[in-house]
Amino acid sequence: MTSRTLGVVPGTLPPALTAIEVQMSALDMVVQWRRCGIVADYLADYLALSFEQPDYARSVLSTVANELVENAVRFSAEKARPIRIHASHRGDVVELVVSNLSNQRHVEGLEKLFLDLSRDDLAAVFRERVEAGTRGGLGLLLLAKDYGAELGAVVVSQETDTRAVTMHVVLPAKELVQS
């Protein structure tokens, strides 16, 4: 098994003040897409109570979590296998870690995205993708561009075409407060 890192995966973060983990199969969302939002709202509701403006925090957290859940569902190669989401409030940051099993084709898409995310002007990346007619792949870009999220992924190659992907998203806590 080989492992590689895309983007920025946090080293040591402050300890979790509040944390929650959920696990489900992508197939549940294929059968009922609305479940993506249900999971996102549940995680957001749970963590938002830690913030001074819980409604605002909930809106941001639900938006961010929903993108990650939808991506994990779309890019899970074996839909019956579990997706795991761990969300934690760590004082200055909120971290979301999403693990699922994908394949090489999807990982290649992720590699291209992380190349784009390494550019300084993410607004330009957004414009280019829209103007090029690229229909997918905007979710993670918008998290980085609009929510100041730091993104990274660890990809572990497994048997045949399977890739275990763990996506790390670190969101500054100040994004969860309305300025």
């Binding site: 197939l27 294929v30 059968v31 009922q32 897409w33 839909k79 019956a80």
Partner: protein, 219 residues
């Protein structure tokens, strides 16, 4: 291997069928499902109303669905009443059927470990029984389906069904990974008392089916 064909009657059984269909349709055709909307260009399909299960012990080996109304053929196949009437005119003794009373056999899936054993053919035969097509006092329906020509030949005709070509099926994005120019999709009509062999039409469900352990070599 012994299999049992039965109609899914509990909500748990319906869910098992839906999950198997969703798993295979999403994996092979990138399709999603919805209980409250459909959009073929966005690859969102409507769920069937009734399901047939093929079980090996407790394991769901294969399943298929049945639309009891709002069939695919009517909604998306550009098939109109005149198309039915044209075929029914040519079918002796078919005048008593109502072209608005349709059933559509759909979403035929076999779990990968069970492929190559003729289970799709057996299941499609069972699906054309009175027990599956008509529940309770439902009126005798006409049966329709849409499929690639290869499926109509290798599955439906192979079990003795005599489907009548209704119309070529229009192109939708949802079928882009399913159909091809060399194997296009069509809509078909089956007139039960003429086109379904008696042993399928009168088959009682649940029923048992023995299959050789040896897998068929697919052609």
């Amino acid at each position: 291997m012994k299999f049992r064909a039965q109609v899914a009657t509990t909500s748990a059984d319906v869910l098992r069928c839906q999950y198997l269909i969703a798993d295979i349709y999403n994996r092979e055709y990138d399709v999603m499902f919805s209980s409250d909307r459909y959009d073929l260009d966005a690859k969102i399909e409507p769920w069937p109303h009734r399901y047939l299960m093929l079980l090996e012990g407790d394991v769901l080996a294969a399943t298929l669905g049945l639309y009891l109304h709002d069939t695919y053929v009517e909604r998306f196949g550009a098939v109109v009443r005149e198309d039915f009437e044209r075929l029914l005119c040519d079918a002796a003794g078919a005048g008593h059927y109502d072209p608005t009373n349709l059933r559509e056999v759909t979403k035929i899936v076999v779990a990968p470990p069970y492929r190559g054993r003729g289970l799709a053919r057996f299941m499609v035969g069972c699906a054309h029984s009175h027990d599956f097509l008509q529940a309770g006092d439902e009126r005798a329906p006409l049966v329709v389906f849409c499929a690639k020509r290869s499926i109509a030949q290798r599955v439906h005709q192979a079990v003795g069904l005599r489907p009548r070509l209704l119309k070529p099926f229009p192109d939708y994005k949802v079928h882009e990974l399913y159909r091809s120019e060399s194997d296009p999709m069509d809509s078909y009509l089956i007139v039960p008392h003429l086109d379904i062999p008696t042993h399928w039409l009168t088959l009682k469900l649940p029923c048992e089916h023995d299959v050789s352990e040896t897998r068929e070599v697919s052609s």
